[in-house]
């Protein structure tokens, strides 16, 4: 600290620290405990602030913003209910390893623990769903804590960090010298970036010797910006690639080597290739239960190489034969280097004939049941719309270039299956926590990051009602999001499970008589609403929707309520090759 450090209150220091950190947007909602901070922002700062209509939406908007742009935004909420409302969004970000800094107000230090008005133990409430958290004890700690919070949130395996700020520490009366640290060191935190050389060599030896390999990658390749390195390695080897729900876009979907998504509602060819593989290279994926099906029957013949920046992800559910701890970019680069080195040798085990035979097998699977090879759905009548057709129309009209956010349920799976993402950071959904209500606020965040881009929120009439109030925020900030509401008048995924496993008893999953008129609802907020009921109108309506560049358009599209999502892994006790392929077929 030098003598020329400017004197500031805690609130002013916070506002300045955010600017010095390069924060470009704050998503927040004011309240008693953060009034000093809001006043400091008003007086001293030039960071744009988005006033949401519910704190949950602030966290999802921040989440969407960072998933699309890679930049870390800030969430600012008040104490008590403001903080607890943010919890769902923090948990969503935590499950998907999304960096975020959440500033929560707190009651003054001297009344903490006295059940003061709007007091809640935010550090305690958020503890299991944050990467780390801090509580400010003294105003002078604020700049250092902000610096640490951004460093922790964005490095290693990213995640949300909470700073809980008692009101008195931001009071305007007391001033302290402000100094923003240039860098930060935390003695207990040294994330590994580079994979161990010996492990890389071992992995490369196995890779070139594989006869039925699959490269399986997840959100880590997206978050780690390693798409380019993934493509280079896959191309060098001519190996098939599958992405998890979180990893879509890491490998171009329209490329021949892409097998589609794997797992619960994954592609037939992807799941079959996994099951029959002799080698799996997993990068930035965590062998989630939505991927593996029964762990004991998972990939029975495969040797598993597992690279992840977080050692706790390795051998957590599925044992890794070759574990590599390191960042995706670095590990993939090192692997490529070593593979090229091996392929340059005379006695290299790589066999392009064997890989060709593997491709022949994969192509046969594609031809039999691949979702992109031929239409795998059938309409009950000519003019009834199927949800798959909605996503296909969206894909055509936006030429595959849109940012697509989704909520949770059938529409999410249809979007993941039928929108072919060629680029990373275009597909934005709550994969781990499965948070309904995520889609619209996440789309707001994406649109804030890319004001001129097409942003589509593929949702359902169930999910959209969980954060419908954000239509007002979209009006406030002129966010021309396109809401694609796939309306089947039911909680479709719940209903599908009830059809398949509960004798068709639709317990609390339908509500057709109480649905709002979405067109009028959108118009009430100043947006444009459209209702589409016939297949013959779909393409035109979709084109019309996206031609309105400056307006939020709410497309309420009525679809066949009987449609199910397939393929679907058979559980319990199934392996990855056990799938329902339609209402009447199984693998």
């Amino acid at each position: 600290m030098s003598s020329d450090d400017e004197l500031m209150s805690g609130g002013e220091m916070l506002a300045r620290a955010l600017r010095d950190e390069g924060v470009e947007v704050i998503f927040g909602y004011p309240g008693g405990a953060v009034l000093h901070i809001y006043d400091a922002l008003f007086r001293t700062n030039d960071i744009p602030h988005v006033l949401v209509r519910h704190e949950q939406a602030a966290t999802h908007a921040a989440d969407g913003y960072t998933r699309a742009s890679g930049k870390i935004p800030v969430v600012l909420v008040t104490s008590g209910p403001g903080a607890t409302n943010a919890i769902t969004g923090i948990a969503t970000a935590y499950m998907d390893s999304i960096p975020m800094v959440v500033l929560s107000g707190q009651v003054p230090t001297n009344v903490i623990g006295e059940d003061a008005f709007q007091e809640t133990d935010m550090v305690g409430c958020s503890r299991p769903i944050v990467k780390h958290s801090f509580q400010v004890r003294h105003a002078s700690e604020i700049p250092g804590m902000v610096k640490k919070a951004f460093y922790l949130a964005g490095s290693g395996r990213p995640g949300p960090v909470v700073i809980d700020i008692p009101k008195n520490t931001t009071a305007p009366g007391e001033q302290y010298p402000y100094h923003y640290p240039k860098d930060v060191r935390i003695r207990s935190y040294n994330p590994t970036t580079r994979g161990h050389g010996k492990q890389i060599k071992k992995a490369a030896d196995l890779l070139v010797a594989a006869r039925r390999p699959v490269i399986y990658t997840g959100g880590g390749v997206i978050q780690g910006n390693a798409s380019e390195q993934l493509i280079a390695l896959a191309k060098e080897l001519n190996y098939p690639v599958t992405n998890t729900l979180m990893g879509l876009g890491a490998y171009p979907a329209t490329d021949r080597q892409f097998l589609g998504m794997l797992g619960m509602h994954g592609f037939y060819e992807a799941n079959m290739a996994m099951h029959h593989a002799d080698l799996i290279l997993a990068v930035g994926a965590r062998f989630d239960d939505r991927v593996t099906n029964t762990v004991a029957k998972f990939c029975p013949e495969a040797t598993i190489i597992h690279a992840d920046v977080d050692p706790t992800s390795i051998s957590k559910t599925v044992n890794a034969d070759v574990p590599i701890v390191g960042a995706a970019t670095q590990v993939l680069e090192d692997l490529l280097k070593q593979v090229r080195h091996l392929k340059g040798k005379k006695d290299c085990a790589y066999s392009s004939e064997a890989i060709d035979r593997w491709w022949t097998q994969i192509d046969a699977w594609r031809e039999a049941h691949g979702l992109w090879h031929a239409p795998r759905y059938q309409s009950r009548s000519d003019d009834i719309i199927l949800p798959q057709q909605v996503v296909e129309a969206l894909y055509r009209v936006t030429k595959g270039e849109a940012y697509v956010t989704s909520d949770v349920g059938q529409h999410q799976m249809f979007a993941a299956q039928y929108y072919r993402f060629d680029k990373p950071r275009r597909w934005i959904n709550s994969g781990g926590l499965g948070t309904m209500g995520f889609g619209l606020p996440a789309a707001m965040g994406v649109q804030m990051a890319f004001r001129d881009a097409h942003v589509a929120c593929v949702t359902g009439e169930g999910s959209i009602q969980m954060n419908i109030q954000e239509l007002a925020t979209c009006t406030h900030y002129n966010l021309p999001i396109k809401i694609i509401n796939i309306n089947n008048e039911a909680l479709g995924m719940v209903k599908q499970w009830q059809d398949m496993q509960y004798g068709g008893r639709h317990s609390e999953s339908t509500y057709a008589d109480s649905l709002p008129d979405f067109v009028k609802l959108a118009e009430a907020y100043g947006h444009h609403g459209m209702r589409v009921e016939k297949l013959s109108d779909l393409e035109y309506a979709m084109t019309e929707c996206f031609s309105q560049r400056d307006k939020l358009v709410f497309m309420d599209i009525v679809v066949d309520p009987e449609e199910h999502v397939y393929p679907m892994l058979i559980a319990p006790n199934g392996s990855m090759r056990d799938m329902y392929l339609s209402k009447t077929e199984r693998s």
Binding site: V123, R127, H132, Q135, L152, S188, P311, T312, K316
Partner: protein, 163 residues
């Protein structure tokens, strides 16, 4: 299998609750836990005992290392090490029993730290199994109260486990 883990962590508010929370959150059990600051007051040393197979223990160790406040984790079970626990025990000591209890305390190398006409408070340190044996020995006399610290552990040899 029983395991003894030793942790060096930041002496920060909330650090202990992160460790304890991790165990309940992920369904691991804690059998004993002791914690106190070290000669460097910015650092706390924590010893805990848990049980689980190698796979569970690998996860526990990795998850503990992942906590930002945890600086180092050592599995003492894998090393030759010393474990000690302290117990304060209040037992009935009247009539003929009184001399018998005193003899027993001497055999176990404990100390009587509070004397009442019909009650002794006894202090005893040692391995957990020694403490168990003493409790067993006192059961006839009549145990009124037991307070045990849980074990503190340290590896044998000159090599130091520190930051």
């Amino acid at each position: 299998m029983k395991r003894t883990l030793s942790l060096i962590m930041e002496n920060e508010p909330g650090a202990l609750s992160r460790v304890v929370g991790l165990f309940s959150q992920r369904g691991y059990n804690i059998e004993t836990l002791t914690v106190a600051p070290t000669e460097d007051e910015t650092i706390s040393r924590l010893t805990l005992t848990t049980s689980g197979d190698d796979r569970v223990l690998e996860q526990i160790t990795k998850q503990l290392n992942k906590l930002i406040d945890v600086i180092k984790v050592l599995d003492l079970t894998e090393k030759t090490h010393i474990e000690r626990e302290l117990m304060l025990i209040k037992v009935r000591a009247e009539g003929e029993q009184r001399a018998e209890v005193k003899r027993c305390v001497d055999i176990f190398r404990g100390a009587i730290v509070d004397v009442l006409p019909d009650v002794y408070v006894i202090q005893l340190a040692g391995s957990s199994s020694k403490l168990d044996a003493f409790i067993e020995a006192m059961s006839e006399a009549g145990i009124l109260e037991v307070a045990r610290t849980g074990i503190a552990g340290i590896a044998r040899g000159a090599k130091a486990f520190r930051v």
